[in-house]
Every structure is written in structure tokens, then in C-alpha cells.
């Protein structure tokens, strides 16, 4: 049975919720300082009520108000014109860095002023600083004056993640494979600007270094002028499913948003709209409605990439059924892109029809064209 606050507990519960909503993770004992002297019955009621609204399993035994509850509290005070007063009240109490960040984000002061945030993002701040900002803006929600910069902060974090990935893959250096790299560079020099879709196929024995080769090629491409936007769909990630075109398009747009921080907010909005339910007669699940391309998101994606004026290198790694899939993925997504290159990286297996190849100790780089009429027909072409 859920206990509801009675008259005696209503005010202390409201006070405790206000404290929690305007704090980072907090020690539950600190609530007693906020409440002052209260009867045991009231203290128990407050604790029970707040435990329901908080994640009580946070690190270090601290409590953290759940994001959805916090947003509701903030919205409620804002609608009643009490938010500023609540913030001032909270500032009088002991605080920590996370709490100060939240309060600053809510009023847009200090490093949470829009101009200061733009400067921080532009100055290639480190992960810790960006994480702090992202968390504070997320917690403050749309009440934060600088909430609009959140997507740019997320993009900056995403770029750091991509850098970490590259470091993990290439940190021990990349040696040799100059011939294959030269083939890739030459191929990238002629990106696709119209159909039919062409792709570069890289195959070889397991562990031979196909992914590393592509990573190195991607690293060089993203350092070129203009830098390529690298989109990596690694099908070792089981979340990626060629049957789920909605999911694939969402993932492509997420990665493009990371690469293009300026337009991240536009893409984020389009992604949220595409991820919701579609008006459909069938179930909106993989293998059914989600086989359709989300055209609105696709259109936004095309517009954003077009404005950026940067070519896209799409890497399809660990493909196991790339015949049809390699064609499906860019279909509908790339129509508005200025230029696009697709690299398919696949484990060794009987290759495209017509392409009988020997097993080899070298990765095989192979250009092919996907005929628009017969998606499973592979037409080998010189790289």
C-alpha cells in the first residue's frame, strides 16, 4: 500500500522534494538538516516519499532524484512562478559541484551562460568538463536558458568518444598495407555523386586487419580537406539490423550529428520525431513497419549534409550479408548527399557471385557496383 502524505507531512515532503530536485546526488542524512527537528513519523514519511522519487542505488550510498521526477518538479514551480525563489533558497544550503552546476544551469550564470558555453565547446574542452556541462543541462532540462547548446555539447563528447575509439584501434601504430591504403585513397578521390551506388569491398581472413585498415583510411580521410564525415556501421554491434531501416537511419544521423556539431540540434529533433510511432496499420516493429525508410529524417539528413559540403565515408564493418544490405542502407539516405563513398568490410567467405577469389594473407580491396535493378548482382570494377 502506498502511503500518501497527510497534513502533517505535506510541507516537509514538499521541502525535501525541493531540496532533492535542486541537488545533485545527495547524502540522505543531509535531508535532516534541511527539515530541522521533525517527529519520527514525519521523518519516516519524508524518507519513504523521497525514496520513491530517487535512485537510492547511486554510487556511494547517495540518493539522486530521478530525471523524470525532477523535470516535473521544475516545471511545476516554473508554472507557478516559484522557480527563482526555490533556486535562491537552495543556494543558501550546503552544496557540492554537481548542485552548483545545476543551479547555474537553471539561471544561465557562470559557465552556463550561452556565450561561455559556446566558448567552452569551441575550445576543445576535456571530457570531464563537457560531461559536467552535459549532465547539468540534462538535469535542468528546457528550463536552462542555454539548453539549446546541449546537442552541441553532446556532439563534442561524441567526437571525443570517436577519438578514443581511434586511439584504441590505432594506438599501437599502423604499419604497412600501403598498397591497399593507396587503393582506398584513389577510390575516395572519386566519390559517388549519383546512382548506381558503388562500394569498396575489403575482405580477408579473420584477424588479418581489415577493420584496422579501414580505421586508418578513415583517420586519413577525416583529416583531409574538406574532412570526410565518417559514418561507421559496425555490424558486430548486434543492435544494427539491416531489416531495421529506421534504426539504421537513426544511427547514421546520430553519427553525422556528432561530426557536424553545428546542426546537431536540428538532427536531434528529426531523430526524436522519427523514433516515435509511425501511423501504420501493422506493428511498428523490426521486420514490418521499420523496414521503411523514415523519409522526413532522411530529408533533414540530406539537407544538413548538403549544407556542410563535406563528403561522407560510410563504413559497413563486419557485414555478413552485404549483397542486399549495402544497397539498402544508403538507399533513401544518400539521395540528397553531395557525395558518398561506401566501404564494406567483411569477413572472408564465398564472395560475390562472379568473384571467385583465393584465400590470401592480404586483405583484398575490391571495387564493386551495386546494380539498381538487381540488388544481389555484384559487378566487380577496378578500384
Amino acid at each position: 500500500m502506498i502511503q500518501r502524505p497527510d497534513k502533517e507531512t505535506t510541507a516537509p515532503v514538499a521541502l525535501a522534494r525541493r531540496f532533492a530536485a535542486l541537488s545533485g546526488a545527495f547524502d540522505p542524512e543531509s535531508l535532516l538538516d534541511v527539515l530541522g527537528t521533525v517527529p519520527t513519523k514525519v521523518a519516516v514519511a519524508v524518507t519513504a516519499e523521497l525514496a520513491d522519487a530517487c535512485d537510492t542505488g547511486s554510487q556511494g550510498g547517495k540518493w539522486l532524484m530521478r530525471g523524470s521526477v525532477r523535470r516535473r518538479e521544475l516545471d511545476s514551480w516554473a508554472s507557478e512562478g516559484e522557480l527563482d525563489q526555490a533556486i535562491e533558497w537552495r543556494r543558501q544550503l550546503p552544496s557540492d559541484a554537481a548542485t552548483d552546476d545545476l543551479l547555474d544551469a537553471l539561471v544561465g550564470s557562470g559557465q552556463y551562460a550561452a556565450s561561455a558555453l559556446q566558448q567552452t565547446i569551441g575550445s576543445q574542452a576535456d571530457r570531464e568538463a563537457l560531461n559536467r556541462i552535459a549532465v547539468a543541462l540534462d538535469r535542468a532540462g528546457e528550463r536552462a536558458p542555454a539548453h539549446g547548446t546541449l546537442e552541441a555539447v553532446r556532439s563534442a563528447l561524441g567526437r571525443l568518444d570517436a577519438h578514443v575509439r581511434a586511439e584504441a584501434m590505432l594506438g599501437r601504430g599502423f604499419f604497412g598495407r600501403e598498397s591497399e591504403l593507396a587503393q582506398i585513397v584513389q577510390w575516395l578521390a572519386q566519390p559517388i555523386t549519383m546512382r548506381p551506388v558503388k562500394a569498396l569491398f575489403i575482405t580477408g581472413l579473420p584477424g588479418i586487419g581489415k577493420s584496422t585498415l579501414v580505421d586508418e583510411a578513415a583517420r586519413r580521410a577525416s583529416s583531409a580537406e574538406p574532412p570526410w564525415i565518417v559514418v561507421r556501421l559496425d555490424f558486430d554491434r548486434t543492435g544494427l539490423d539491416v531489416q531495421d531501416r529506421v534504426g539504421l537511419t537513426l544511427e547514421i544521423s546520430r553519427q553525422i550529428a556528432i561530426a557536424l556539431g553545428d546542426e546537431a540540434a536540428t538532427l536531434a529533433q528529426a531523430r526524436l520525431a522519427a523514433a516515435g510511432a509511425t501511423p501504420t496499420s501493422g506493428p511498428d516493429v523490426k521486420g514490418e513497419a521499420r523496414e521503411h525508410v523514415p523519409y522526413e529524417l532522411s530529408g533533414v539528413l540530406g539537407g544538413v549534409v548538403g549544407r556542410a559540403g563535406r563528403p561522407i565515408l560510410m563504413i559497413l564493418d563486419t557485414m555478413r550479408c552485404c549483397g542486399d544490405a549495402a544497397k539498402r542502407i544508403p538507399d533513401g539516405s544518400s539521395t540528397a548527399w553531395t557525395s558518398c563513398a561506401i566501404a564494406v568490410c567483411a569477413p572472408w567467405r564465398p564472395l560475390p557471385p562472379g568473384g571467385a577469389m583465393r584465400s590470401t594473407a592480404q586483405p583484398i580491396v575490391w571495387g564493386f557496383e551495386l546494380s539498381s535493378g538487381a540488388s544481389t548482382r555484384w559487378i566487380p570494377t577496378p578500384c
Binding site: D234, R237, T238, G239, R271
Partner: protein, 302 residues
């Protein structure tokens, strides 16, 4: 007192005392938060508890994502109530992401331990060490080890461990995304693990998706039932009233009363093609409560 002296008086009650698979009120009272339009969720959780089910839980998505996430969090409370009725063999671990965790797999392990599950530490030398393979592979490997450990615990205790993942309210890092994907992938194939994933709509996840609670046999590959939340219909109120009537009066529902109450509850409320916005739920709930009180009184409730 010997049982045979009064067994006839209690036998009827015991026979009907099976755990209900649905809720009409979160706490079973007429004043509690009413549960409207979640029949697919109830069915999916009920079927998901069966060992042979392909549906290994629920993926809850919002029809309109910018509508907020309060409905998602409410799903946890519903799940908690449903599982508590099934007895102690159904364990629930809630994983929230309201703050940044450096290692999501470790955090899931920690949260499972907080629920009394003695999950062992991972091996010192993971199968795929960081740096020796792409991060995707490393994350998948670490998550799979955790899922296997959890499965062993659950199987040994003949229990089912449910994981409820709250929609993150902070930005997910790349490592968290990969760890989450890896855990979902690994947990789906474990017979004693179940998942309820609230939100995460923009994140493609592994496994099959089903639009119904009892998916066809197919190739037996496991997946999650996808439930879309947001908005409700008059028929959802009829379902709620029917359940409440049966629960409170212990007799068959009076269809006429129920239909009339549902009509009054949505009277003059705006709708789009018969779908009412969630914002109207408080109004509708208050309109339903007098009839719920009448049910309670008729059933002899104090």
C-alpha cells in the same frame, strides 16, 4: 485449530487467489494512481514469465517522444507490483542512468548486488581485452560474461531476474551505449533473464521485436514485445472498470454500468480519432473514482 474444521469456508477464497496479471490501480485502492491502457504490457509481462516464451520482456516506446518520460517511469512501478504478486522468485533490478557511470556493465553488476544477488566479479583476464579488438567487441564480451553470471545465479535459485532500464536522462556515452547493446543481446538468450526497456527510442537494439504478447513460434529467436504508450481510448477505461469491478465486488461486471461510466468519464473531452491525450488522465481519473468507490462499497469494502 485443525484446518478441516473450516476448510470449506476458505476453500473458495483460496481457489480464486491467483496472482492477477493486470492492474487497474497501482496500489489496488480506489484513491491510487489508475493504470490506463497498458493491457499489452500486462500480457507481455505475464507471457514473458513463462520459460518457453520468445518474448523476453518489453520495450516501451513513446508515441511522441517529446511528451516527457513520466509514463515510462510509471511502468517500473507497475512492473514492481506485478512481480511482487508472483512471489520472491521474480527479482527486479532497476538500472537508471541519471548520472554518468564510467562502466555500465560494472554498474549493472553493482545494482544486481544491491538487490541481494551474489554476482561474482568478472575474470581478471577478459576474453577480449580492451585494445585488442574494436570497442564493440570488447563491450559485447564483457556484457556477455555478466549475463552468463546472472543466468547461473537465477537458474540455481530457480528464479527469474528482471531488469528494468529507465530511459536515460543524461547523455549516453559511446561506451555505455555499446555496453547496453551488448547486455541486451546477451541477456535476451538467457532463459532466466528478462528485460523491460523504457524509452531509448533512438537507439537500435538487438533482438527481434514483436507487436503482440504471444509471438508466433517462428524460428524461436527471442526478442522483446514493443509497446507504444501515449494517449488512451474509451475502451481502455472499459477494461479498467471491468477489472476494478471484478476485483472490488468479487462478482461479474455490470456491463451497462461500466459502459455508462466510461461514457461519462470522457464526456466533452477532446480527442483525435478516439484517442485522448495523456494530459486528460487526471480529469478522467477523478471522474472514474466515484464509481470505483461504489464498486468498493458494493463489495463490502470498508
Amino acid at each position: 485449530m485443525p484446518l478441516d474444521r473450516f476448510v470449506d469456508r476458505v476453500l473458495g477464497f483460496v481457489k480464486v487467489d491467483t496472482a492477477p496479471t493486470s492492474l487497474w490501480s497501482l496500489d489496488g485502492t480506489t484513491a491510487g494512481p489508475l493504470v490506463v491502457g497498458r493491457s499489452l504490457f500486462f500480457d507481455a509481462i505475464s507471457k514473458g514469465g513463462e520459460a518457453s516464451s520468445r518474448g523476453r520482456g518489453v520495450r516501451i516506446k513513446r508515441r511522441a517522444i517529446d511528451a516527457g518520460s513520466s509514463g515510462l517511469a510509471f511502468s517500473h512501478d507497475i512492473l514492481e507490483q506485478l512481480l511482487s504478486r508472483r512471489g520472491p522468485n521474480h527479482r527486479l533490478v532497476r538500472v537508471t542512468q541519471d548520472e554518468i557511470v564510467p562502466d555500465l556493465v560494472a554498474d549493472i553488476r553493482r545494482r544486481a548486488r544491491l538487490k541481494g544477488l551474489a554476482v561474482p566479479d568478472p575474470p581478471d583476464a577478459p576474453g577480449v581485452a580492451p585494445g585488442s579488438a574494436p570497442p564493440e567487441t570488447t563491450a559485447k564480451d564483457r556484457a556477455a560474461i555478466l549475463a552468463v553470471d546472472l543466468e547461473a545465479l537465477a537458474a540455481a535459485g530457480d528464479s527469474v531476474i528482471w531488469f528494468f532500464f529507465d530511459n536515460p536522462t543524461i547523455t549516453l556515452s559511446e561506451s555505455s551505449r555499446l555496453a547496453f547493446e551488448g547486455f541486451v543481446d546477451a541477456a535476451l538468450v538467457q532463459p532466466h533473464l528478462r528485460l523491460v526497456i523504457a524509452g531509448f527510442e533512438t537507439l537500435p537494439l538487438p533482438g527481434q521485436e514483436f507487436g503482440v504478447a504471444s509471438p508466433p513460434e517462428g524460428d524461436r529467436s527471442p526478442g522483446l514485445v514493443v509497446e507504444f504508450i501515449g494517449g488512451f481510448r474509451r475502451s481502455d477505461l472499459v477494461d479498467l472498470l471491468t477489472d476494478a469491478s471484478r476485483d472490488l465486488t468479487h462478482t461479474a461486471a455490470n456491463i451497462g454500468v461500466i459502459e455508462n461510466t466510461a461514457d461519462l468519464a470522457v464526456l466533452n473531452l477532446p480527442n483525435f480519432n478516439g484517442v485522448y491525450a495523456d494530459e486528460l488522465l487526471p480529469t478522467v481519473s477523478e471522474r472514474l473514482r466515484p464509481q470505483l468507490e461504489l464498486f468498493r462499497t458494493a463489495g463490502g469494502g470498508g
